[in-house]
Symmetry: C2
Subunit: 449 residues, 2 copies
């Protein structure tokens, strides 16, 4: 790797500005590292988040820092790459300026938009309070605190009906995130917490996975989906397909005409693109994704590109590419190489071609599914492959090693390393405490033991 | 270890209630584990915190979960021990009841108070906003976010004077916590962050340690304190002794008549005991500590004991025992054994005798001090011993192993694994961002490189 600071023509090349340091933006910046082209990466977080393992933070298996790496640190050896911690609120395409929340501007010659996606509650934003989604570290901590607090409250709850409610979790949405969360929560209750309480039996906890479509994992082949369905049920998850969530309240979910009282509700159903399409004033699809040309450029705008979850790119078969980390990462690498060749040698921008490395979802210990297109894999071997792939993909050697050790340890012991209640539970002050304890002066009843 | 559920007379023995699962309360509960005596542990947190390593969370080296373990998990094999997550707000010594924040009561036969200590701002509670102390995980996250955000803001700050302010940290108080924090922050700036910025040089960051007394580490022998003073200065810390902090504002500390502008301020000066003395209506010293008899009982109250940081116990030489983890732990073990012998066999309660295993403070990489009473140790060997002792003391095998690997890795690379800005910085919304960025349409100036 040549020293970029001494690379020829540094500073004479157009300035590339990248918004977002997710899989797409970060891989693009890394690909342009050492190219001699000046690159500025803007993100509102100081870290890159390995979102595929976020469900493990939400279920107390990993710490946030295990799956996050400072963007500056990842990019620090590329002296041609600069990082700005800031929130983008608009883009002036006429003057080629990115506007930051605090009033500053960053001018660009080429602009890459990789701003990702967020939850969508299908117009029912009031559900967000009761059913957090899983996109950020704060989301994961919120879910972790609610889950663990619900069991603590159940332990102290003298009312059987309310205790049952507290020990019930409803996961909305049968995509990969919903499947991962439902499986992981069931394992948390049945194994990790099993011996830790005296009055309740965590193994009696109920987990529902609700999917409006006819089956879970709609983006996978049917045999893998029905395997996942069976594997979840074996782990104690009640899978409800073809059932629609019509309302979500503080401690309940209405599924069609049935009310399910639940202490914890997790949203894994809808995804919406970032508002980048509005910033640019360009055409988007219903989910807010920017339609891009085969070379990932935004039609009608000179030198502007979009990729990852916020872009609607078409595969070779004419269907939209899915919102997967591997798509984003490949797009970032492709666009990085294409921009370098275009800027340095005037070469034309080639079209992006997605290579499916295997679409995967994990159900839990010993159970995962892999779809390689022609071939499929499921069960224990798929789980081993899933673990290898994810450990390998984690940024940085230390995290790979640490996470591997934690996984091995937990596999042997069923324990989890991050069972901390640190954030305020809903409707409480900063100290979580007993919700409905023994009133009056009656003695605390003896436990099960 | 006999199965406590089948221990003879379980339930016929008096009920021991322990408030607080710090070093004192937890070691007491563990000692009573398997005794057949019914024990209830009440804590407002669901985890035991290994406070001596909290400074490493505050300086982005470790994750909260690395130094915290669920209380239920630590105690789960002792079936005679029950855990309640709840906040104690009072004690009715007449009716022998502990009152919880939500209105419930827990009756006791023997009561052990191990509620620890908190910060004291010497009556200047308004300083707390500007200068957080270091007692909880939330404290540590607040300091971490402020430190990292200050460097991010400095990177984007066009004003030299303000940039200097942002890159200055003041640590108030020259006790072990202050020394650890100052040394660790200097290393964070000079090594970990050194290459990650383009416009600022983190090695130019300033760290002040301000102590009102004539020297730092007043609880250590003078030679160790002056070694620590020199070691800190070698790491780039400016140590100010005999200088008094008279005021703390949003971005400044007034030391005597000198104003030091500072982007981050850390409070390590004052400690106050928990309010347990008020709950009991008994005599306390100025710091709020409950005076206890040699057997750790609270004079005038039948069956009530206090230990750890919230108790004022006298050593054999007649001077008060210091607020150290090793004192708390030994007291917990002693009182556990004494209560078991008293309850089961009617034996008298023996007096507690503290055995000094070595008082230690760490200055940073390669530098620590140990005071064993007669002998002293300092420098690299003391640091190695410090690391061995702290890894050994960490609860649970997995954490020991993980933390060891992180330490070894960081020692080799100067890197830190938890550099996340996740909490709102002071005066900001939840997304930390650039504070005083480039205004107008001027281009962002090129960096140092």
């Amino acid at each position: 790797m040549p020293d970029p600071a001494s690379a020829p023509h540094a500073g004479d090349f157009p300035h590339v500005v990248v918004i977002g340091a997710g899989f797409a933006g970060l891989s693009l910046a890394q690909t342009l590292g050492g190219s001699g082209i000046r690159v500025t990466v803007i993100d509102r977080r100081n870290y890159h988040l390995f979102v595929p393992l976020l469900y493990q933070v939400a279920t107390a298996a990993l710490s946030p820092a295990d799956i996050a790496e400072p963007i500056r640190h990842v990019l620090n050896r590329h002296r041609n790459v600069e990082v700005i911690l800031g929130e983008v609120v608009g883009i002036d395409v006429e003057r080629r300026m990115v506007r930051l929340a605090e009033g500053g501007f960053v001018p660009y010659d080429r602009l890459v938009i990789a701003t990702g996606s967020t939850h969508s509650y299908f117009g029912r934003d009031e559900w967000a309070r009761h059913a957090p989604g899983l996109k950020t570290i704060e989301d994961a901590r919120t879910i972790r605190t609610r889950l663990l607090t619900a069991f603590e409250r159940a332990e102290m709850c003298p009312d059987g009906e309310r205790r049952g409610m507290l020990m019930t979790t409803v996961v909305v949405g049968g995509g990969p995130t919903g499947v991962e969360m439902a499986g992981s929560i069931a394992e948390l209750a049945r194994h990790t917490l099993a011996r830790d309480f005296r009055r309740i039996d965590p193994r009696a906890a109920k987990v529902y996975l609700v999917e409006a479509g006819p089956r879970i994992l709609p983006s996978f082949p049917e045999p893998l989906a029905s395997y996942a369905h069976r594997a979840l049920e074996r782990k104690g998850v009640t899978v409800l397909t073809g059932r629609k969530v019509v309302d979500i309240g503080p401690e309940q979910v209405q599924v069609d005409t049935t009310l399910i009282p639940a202490g914890t509700i997790v949203w894994g159903a809808g995804v919406a693109a970032s508002p980048a399409g509005r910033w640019l004033g360009v055409e988007t699809d219903r989910a807010g994704r920017i339609r891009v040309a085969p070379d990932l450029s935004v039609p009608g705008l000179d030198g502007v590109y979009a990729l990852g979850d916020t872009a609607l790119a078409m595969g070779e078969d004419g269907s939209p590419l899915p919102g997967l980390a591997q798509v984003a990462k490949q797009q970032g690498e492709h666009l990085g190489r294409a921009l370098a060749a275009s800027i340095r040698h005037g070469e034309p921008m080639p079209p992006f071609r997605f290579r499916n490395r295997g679409n995967t979802a994990i159900i839990g210990r010993n159970a995962a599914v892999f779809d390689f297109g022609r071939r499929q894999l499921r069960g224990f071997l798929a789980w081993v492959l899933w673990a290898i792939v994810h450990v390998y993909l984690l940024v940085g050697f230390e995290k790979r090693l640490l996470v591997s050790i934690q996984w091995l340890w937990r596999y042997a012991t069923h324990q989890r390393g991050a069972r901390l209640i640190t954030d305020p539970a809903p409707g409480e002050a900063s100290t979580p405490a007993v919700a409905a304890p023994m009133r009056g002066t009656a003695a605390v009843p003896r436990g099960r033991s």
